[in-house]
């Protein structure tokens, strides 16, 4: 798999929470030759399934979400689109940001800003309030109303690109960078017999509340559920905090209440064995990832979070290190081949 090419395709695809269908189709298409079965459920989650070599094997689920943050058109005024956000977006990254309004065919838009000439002194020291901003699609009110209806989503418009030799930048690497990681995991497992039933889940609606993963985990009832999501990588302006990780400093592996200790330990051991090391990510409560929902789905699941370090989260210029993606994929493949003993299922009461 050409990582940069797959990353580019998925990064530039459009699929805000609740509108993932076209991304889901792309993901399913890539999965099909590498899976025994690919299914889609009622909430739009895609499940790529690799059967175990022997029946009765435990089930392992890896989840990465394919939805992205975005915008929702709420009203049209004088040809400009009023909007609210889908998921959390820093209003400071909005002014003059190019977007794509998801009509058929899509419409290119620009989020408004006020030129310096029209500002009062000191205005530029305060961020714009979201309510003041509109999406400009350069049309008359009549034309705009004809082409765009309230309820139409929009997403950041930004091309993906390499940054230097090893960094990759674009929109929606949260979390399609991890979707690509899981596709790469599938590739690494091609032609190998698996001791587990492996489910690769591309989940929906994570950004608005871990919704797809909750039902996906319930339906699959896995023995292990690992969420693969992005985490903050160091930047010059980031706070000095222990949970902010380094690029290419080892695979970030979660610890804390959302992590099954045996599962976490196994992943740490394997990353040492593979010589890539790990960065402990201690999370004292919610991890804000699919793992939080999957842990308590059904009768409960052994869960953990493997993270992909990422700079500038929830902007259109999210940036990752390709070695981090490749290393984590290797670790996930290794765990699928050598997971150790499954946690006991126990009696159904």
């Amino acid at each position: 798999m050409d990582l940069a090419k797959t990353l580019t395709a998925l990064s530039e695809a459009m699929g805000p929470s609740g509108f993932e269908a076209s991304v889901a189709e792309m993901v399913a298409e890539i999965m099909r030759p590498m899976c025994d079965e690919v299914t889609t459920d009622a909430l739009g989650n895609v499940h790529g399934i690799r059967h175990a070599a022997k029946p009765g094997a435990p089930k392992l689920l890896y989840s990465a979400h394919m939805d992205e943050i975005g915008f929702m058109v709420t009203d049209i005024k004088d040809g400009f689109l009023r909007f609210r956000t889908i998921g959390g977006i820093d209003p400071r990254v909005m002014p003059a940001r190019e977007v794509t309004v998801m009509t058929d065919p899509p419409i290119h838009g620009v989020i408004s800003s006020v030129p310096p000439h029209l500002q009062a002194a000191g205005d530029n020291t305060k961020p714009f309030a979201v309510e003041e901003l509109v999406i400009d699609i350069g049309m008359s009110d009549e034309k705009a109303r004809k082409l765009v209806r309230p309820g139409t989503p929009a997403v950041f418009s930004e091309h993906a690109q390499l940054l230097g030799d090893k960094l990759f930048s674009g929109k929606t690497l949260d979390d399609r960078g991890c979707v690509v990681m899981l596709l790469r995991t599938l590739e690494l497992l091609q032609g190998k017999d698996l001791p587990v039933e492996l489910v690769i889940q591309a989940s929906t609606q994570e950004e608005v509340g871990l919704r797809g993963a909750q039902v996906g985990a319930y339906a699959n009832a896995p023995d292990w559920a690992v969420a693969v999501d992005v985490t903050h990588a160091e930047t010059p302006d980031a706070p000095k905090r222990p949970d902010i990780v380094k690029f290419a400093g080892g695979v970030p592996i979660s610890m804390g209440p959302n992590t099954n200790r045996a599962l976490g330990r196994r992943l740490c051991e394997l990353s040492e064995k593979l010589g890539m090391g790990y960065q402990p990510q201690v999370m004292e409560g919610g991890t804000g990832t699919d793992a939080w929902a999957m842990q308590v789905a059904g009768d409960g699941t052994a869960s953990c979070v493997i993270s992909l370090p990422l700079r500038y989260m929830h902007t259109a210029v999210e940036t990752i290190h390709l070695d981090d993606l490749e290393n984590a994929a290797k670790l996930l493949a290794e765990f699928a081949l050598d997971p150790g003993e499954a946690p006991p299922r126990g009696p159904l009461v």
Binding site: P257, E284, Q295, G298, D299, T301, V349
Partner: protein, 338 residues
Amino acid sequence: MKELVKTLCAIDAPSSFEDAMRDFIRPRAEAAGCEVYEDVLGNLIVHKPGAPADKRIMFAAHMDEVGIIIKALGDDGYLKFACVGGVDVRVLIGKRVLVGANHVPGIIGIKAVHLTTQDERKIVPKINDMYIDIGASSREEAEKLTCCGDYAVFDSFPVDFGEGMLKARAIDDRVGCATMLKLIENGPAVDSWYVFTVQEEVGTRGAAPASHRIKPDAAIILEGTTAGDLPDAKPHLKVCAPGAGAVLPFMDNSAIYDREMFNELRSLAEKNGIRYQIKQYVSGGTDAGNIQRARAGIPVAAISAAVRYIHSPSCVASIDDFEQIYALAAAFLAAHAK
């Protein structure tokens, strides 16, 4: 009840580190002739066989307590940490803690007041600026004593206090665990289910999977709840008071309790001379919320103990209240023998 609560309050079990609680409860429940099962999250599920009940009754109390998790070991040997569950950082300053299963003594220090500026004295330090001193002078030395992801608990030994009171950490919810253990060992011989839940303090996490598995027809949550009966508190903010009996909440932030069960508990208390008080304020939350919404829905009620300074190293509660809570829970169970 007093000795049992005291024993349980001395056990370490911050959320997701409930191992020592399970190790204590499991052999006693097994010795009492119960089936015991630990699920993947660590909930300890106990089935007590007995005379048939008119419905499947589940009691729930959480094993975990609020505490501390070690986030990083500094080059200088100090530990960076976060709180597990809701802790007001103001109760941490200048306290002793015990780090990990080996109880490495630690101190949450703060620079001397002499070294502070006037402005600094007016603000509470941020948790990111706080640290635990375990006497290590380098990361290597600290690594011999603890590791990332390890836990710490408040160093607060349970002791009798004032008139008929107990001071301890983690009375929330060792009082509920003690009540269930006593029901298991000495309670009415009625078929019933007990779930010692995990991770209540980080979002009532264990309760949902446990209820999904047990499928009860009714659930009673045994809890510690906030007492606000301080001299200067406005009457409606006193909530409930240690010594005034078992607390019956009608509603909190997690659930509106089933009215029929609430009324039943109240009349059982009155009929049996069990002292009770109604929780006077809508605050806090319990496992009830997630139990109520498990499967196709489960009616819930709660019986709570009034605990002062809850979620701090030094909680205060009334020993007589523990007896009233047990009596009411036992009366409920007995009333449901077929």
